[in-house]
């Protein structure tokens, strides 16, 4: 598990998620403050809106959405964060390396 630090989920361009899968990540977690208590007021609403569209599009394109987890965890929820990371890493490990993505879709996003 590697962490890429951004100020707010609002900063996340979902291209980054695809790039991570392309560069060898087998799963990606997108996480930040809960809706309504965004540290930056409302950045996470935009992130959520974009996520809904992104998710639909990925489903249409045939991307395995078990590989991408979107979850709200606040800075005061250390235990919840640990649990989430454990669950997701277990799940991704069970799925194995995501080679299909890199073979089929990854070729297009250089």
């Amino acid at each position: 598990m590697r962490v890429l630090r951004v100020p707010c989920t609002g900063r996340i361009d979902y291209m980054m998620v695809l790039k991570a899968l392309h560069k060898g990540a087998d799963g990606v977690i997108v996480s930040g403050c809960h809706p309504n208590d965004c540290h930056y007021t409302s950045g996470n609403y935009h992130a959520r809106r974009r996520w809904m569209v992104f998710k639909k599009m990925m489903e249409v394109m045939g991307v395995d959405m078990r590989r991408i987890t979107f979850s709200w965890v606040s800075a005061a929820e250390g235990a919840r964060w640990a649990q989430l990371v454990n669950e997701v890493t277990d799940q991704v490990r069970a799925l194995g390396p995501y080679t299909e993505f890199r073979q089929v879709i990854g070729a297009g996003i250089e």
Partner: protein, 663 residues
């Protein structure tokens, strides 16, 4: 070509015990662009920092990666040190080897490899870093304190005495909070009102303090030093300037049987009322839900009585927007109600009361003038059972934490009862006695030894009524769980301290974090106990966790010191982590196409429209521009922009993609 230095820290055993730091430093030497890589036991120590500064000079470094703890801890330290050594502070980044690696993994080859990988990522970022310069923003030197309990009053007084303006917002008609309801206070048994009311009056009279009672915060915009707070002043139905507080209206109000909140339902009040005699301000409010005029359209007795014609039946709530530099939350707590206990009859028995009701019974200003009378029939209770930990430390009740104040106030209650009813018998059921405070254990001892309160270690499983008595069925765990049955006249439940109703809503309005019980979260449990994660917003008292008065007041003074510190500068220096819309040479000017989708996305209204003019004065195009004073650096606009015309300094596309490519 970059000349980057990597400094790997052992953090004592914290990193060193799981990650082979020597090897990591060795591995980092092979990263392209890294010209210097060393490890040290404590990079944050003086010699550690000096080592880094010397290396910057000696190896002519233009970028630095410190591989140590979380940037939340030491980023300022290392950036400052790097700045002092002559490079731009923002050319220094931290790789988090502790929280992201050593603390969460076992010792081993893979962990050491991961540590090196984390550094590799940050080295790539630094290669794309740009020198940045801090931004100065003005500070409005007026503080707002939300909540006028003993905590809020103390914060307001300390800031006001520090020479700054304070607005104290209290939602109820008077300041004072829970402390104004207490009879006497542990561990000294001094009268609560006697020590609190001078403070209340001082706050009301202080030239730097503006009281806004019967008011609530509705909206908060802006950021540290520059908040815009909208407060709803609820209609008292009275012109406060005309009212002299004579109280004639209250005497004559025909509607006298309304359950009195201040006396916890043990007494009654009128529809136009002041909550208690020493209320500050001493101006009544009309309770429109219970007022005969609002119910039937007739009455207006108070209006006729008022010698100054101060009553205003048509008064509406008023919204006021204020410029505020810092906010302190001091909204206190609530007590779990007795109806949460099926085993004790769901609050149906009048003589099973909670701790605050007992305070009112014991108080000279209470419904019985301080004489011990049980609520059901007014008889003097001969046997009283006190049950500590009622709801607290009880997962089934959703309160796994200790409420902290009940051990002490239960001892106080038993003592006060014995002082008032000399022949009476007082029993306390407890789980443990937690009396860790100055003179606290001595206080409990006094209850047991001098006032002969009988302490029984064990739980009460059931209480039921029989022939006018409450049958308390418990167990004594120090006697091997032997059943204990006590026929009591009154039972006092020391119910759990909980966060206020709607505290989550308030937290969301202010954008501060809260824990799973609704208490506001501090920025760091040990080192930043009075700050929230949101810059410029601080905490005091029982809104953060259960607290007694000494702790509340200490924390309040701490929060006030933070605010006064903040206000000691005319300008604040802010991190230059802000967004920028690119500008290019004519005739392109920018890749911004002027769609202004970003404007709608920005939570801080930081995006403006800039008109690009030709020499003739004609407007050629309108482009987005970001006001660096308003931008908070969330980056939402960056991800929104369709032409990638915006970038975020410090977290630019170049930087983030460079990191991603190295993952």
């Amino acid at each position: 070509m970059s000349r980057i230095g990597v400094f790997t820290c052992h953090c004592g055993e914290n990193i060193g015990a799981t990650v082979d730091c020597v090897k990591v430093a060795e591995m980092c030497k092979d990263i392209p662009g890294v010209v210097h890589s060393v490890e040290y036991k404590y990079m944050c120590s003086d010699p550690g920092q000096r080592q880094m500064q010397e290396a910057i000079k000696e190896h002519k470094l233009d970028g630095v990666v410190v591989a140590a703890c979380s940037p939340r801890m030491h980023e300022p330290t290392f950036r400052r040190a790097a700045g002092d050594a002559g490079i731009n502070p923002y050319m220094c980044e931290m790789a988090n080897l502790r929280e992201h690696c050593s603390w969460v993994h076992e010792k081993g080859e893979a962990t050491t490899q991961k540590a090196a990988d984390l550094i590799r990522v940050l080295v790539e970022k630094v290669k794309h870093n740009e020198p940045l310069h801090p931004i100065k923003v003005p500070v409005t030197r007026t503080a707002m304190v939300i909540g006028g309990g003993v905590g809020g009053i103390q914060v307001a007084l300390d800031i006001a005495n520090g020479g700054h303006k304070v607005v104290l917002v209290e939602k109820s008609p008077s300041i004072g909070g829970h402390m104004s309801q207490l009879s006497e206070t542990f561990p000294t048994l001094d009268c609560s009102q006697c020590i609190l009311t001078p403070r209340m009056v001082e706050a009301a009279q202080h030239p730097n303090i503006t009281l806004m009672t019967y008011s609530e915060v509705e909206k908060v915009d802006g950021f540290i030093g520059n908040f815009k707070v909208t407060v709803r002043k609820k209609a008292r139905k009275l012109d406060e300037h005309l009212c002299t507080g004579c109280g004639l209206c209250i005497q004559k109000c025909p509607n006298k049987k309304i359950s009195d909140e201040f006396n916890e339902g043990l007494g009654t009040r009128t529809a136009i009322y002041v909550p208690f005699p020493q209320a500050v301000p001493n101006k009544p409010v009309i309770d429109t839900l219970n007022c005969t005029y609002y119910k039937t359209g007739k009455c207006k007795v108070c209006e006729k009585m008022c010698p100054t014609n101060a009553i205003r039946f048509d008064q509406e709530d008023e919204l006021v927007t204020l410029d505020i530099g810092a906010i302190v939350l001091a909204t206190g707590f609530k007590l779990m109600k007795t109806d949460a206990f099926p085993e004790y009859g769901y609050g149906k028995h009048k003589d099973i009361i909670d701790g605050m009701q007992f305070e009112r019974l014991a108080s000279a200003s209470g419904p019985t003038s301080g004489v011990m009378k049980r609520p059901s029939d007014g008889r003097s209770p001969e046997t009283v059972v006190f049950i500590a930990c009622s709801g607290s430390r009880d997962r089934a009740k959703g309160v796994p934490y200790c409420s902290k104040i009940c051990c002490m106030y239960t001892a106080k209650h038993a003592m006060l009862y014995k002082h008032k009813v000399h022949s009476g018998k007082a029993y306390v059921f407890y789980m443990d006695i937690r009396a860790a405070g100055k003179d606290y254990d001595e206080f409990v001892r006094r209850a047991i030894e001098e006032d002969e309160v009988k302490y029984i270690r064990g739980r009460v499983s059931k209480i039921y009524e029989e022939d006018g008595k409450l049958i308390v069925m418990g167990a004594d765990t120090l006697m091997g769980g032997e059943p204990v049955v006590i026929k009591a006249d009154m039972v006092v439940l020391a119910t759990a301290v909980q966060s206020n109703d709607r505290s989550e809503e308030l937290a969301q309005t202010l954008h501060v974090s809260y824990d799973s019980y609704g208490f506001f979260a501090e920025a760091h449990p040990k080192l930043r106990p009075v700050e929230t994660n949101t810059a410029g917003i601080f905490l005091a008292g029982a809104c953060q966790a259960p607290r007694d008065i000494p702790e509340t007041v200490a924390q309040a003074s701490g929060a006030a010191a933070k605010v006064v510190g903040l206000f000691s500068n005319e300008e604040l220096t802010r991190e230059p982590i802000v967004a920028v819309v690119n500008r290019q040479a004519a005739p392109v000017y920018s890749t911004c196409v002027g769609c202004f989708i970003c404007q709608g996305a920005c939570p801080y209204q930081a995006i403006e429209q800039e008109e690009i003019m030709a020499r003739s004065g004609e407007v050629i195009m309108t482009l987005a521009r970001i006001n660096p004073g308003l931008c908070q650096g969330c980056g939402t606009c960056v991800a929104t922009c369709r032409t990638k015309a915006i970038d975020l300094q410090g977290f630019s596309n170049e930087q983030l993609y460079a990191e991603l490519m190295t993952l």
